[in-house]
Symmetry: C2
Subunit: 123 residues, 2 copies
DNA sequence: TCGATATATCCAGATATATGGAAATATAAT
DNA sequence: ATTATATTTCCATATATCTGGATATATCGA
């Protein structure tokens, strides 16, 4: 399920990214791939109280754009590039009116253009 | 200025697309390219009161994703595919960490993959 | 077990957004 | 001029979101 199948997921993703702190956090996490970052570190870097940041991270996680795992006392957050790719595909299918069959190679094309690839070869 | 240069524009765009009625309206407008649709028609198709729709269209216009022009008594709304492309590029630069120079051909690549092209050959 | 660290949850006030009735504006036709 | 049409603006209410203090939970080390 790497594709944003319904509007629901897209709405959640857009909503998550429509808040400054969350957008910054997400960009931070994308840059921090694939290691990810602990919640406290994110809060510190963005200079936001930890509980406020925690609420935002929860929103990001709920939107599907971010994943988390516990590691000792820390909780490590990671950007979910697959979901990100899905959101981009959703946008492309609207913007460029690409259908599913066409957008798949289009995304592969982006991968070829230099972006990070996962095990499936997509960006 | 076809590129989403700062976070401001991206935030406004994400915010505009994070509401169901607006997302539907935007998708409708993308499909209606390049003719566009009058406000009333959009309201009718989405079954939303015209003043409510007007407020949403105003938000979309303010975000830069949608353009409008008066035509007689009607006001015709159109999706701004250039802005749309900018938003996609913003996403790609985060997701795939493409820089400006790389994302340009990547977008052209998408155009080649079958999407609509404008006079500059981008999708 | 106790204290320290990392994070989440609870809660409430502040702020922003969504919604739609009523009235205003702009254009067109008669 | 008057009336009909298309849309916006005004305004108030309802709803959702943001924020951060206080507190709870979970894990680790001594």
């Amino acid at each position: 399920m790497s594709r944003m199948t319904d509007t629901r997921a897209a709405l959640a993703a857009f909503s998550a990214l429509s808040q400054e702190t969350r957008l910054e956090a997400f960009r931070l996490l994308v840059k921090a791939e694939p290691e990810g970052l602990p919640a406290g570190e994110i809060a510190r870097r963005l200079d936001v109280p930890q509980n406020t940041m925690s609420a935002h991270l929860s929103t990001l996680t709920g939107s599907g754009l971010v994943l988390s795992r516990r590691e000792g006392r820390s909780i490590i957050y990671r950007a979910d590039l697959t979901a990100m790719r899905g959101l981009t595909a959703f946008l492309l299918e609207d913007c460029c009116r690409l259908d599913r069959e066409t957008s798949a190679p289009a995304l592969a094309c982006l991968a070829a253009a230099g972006c990070e690839t996962d095990k499936n070869g997509a960006c």
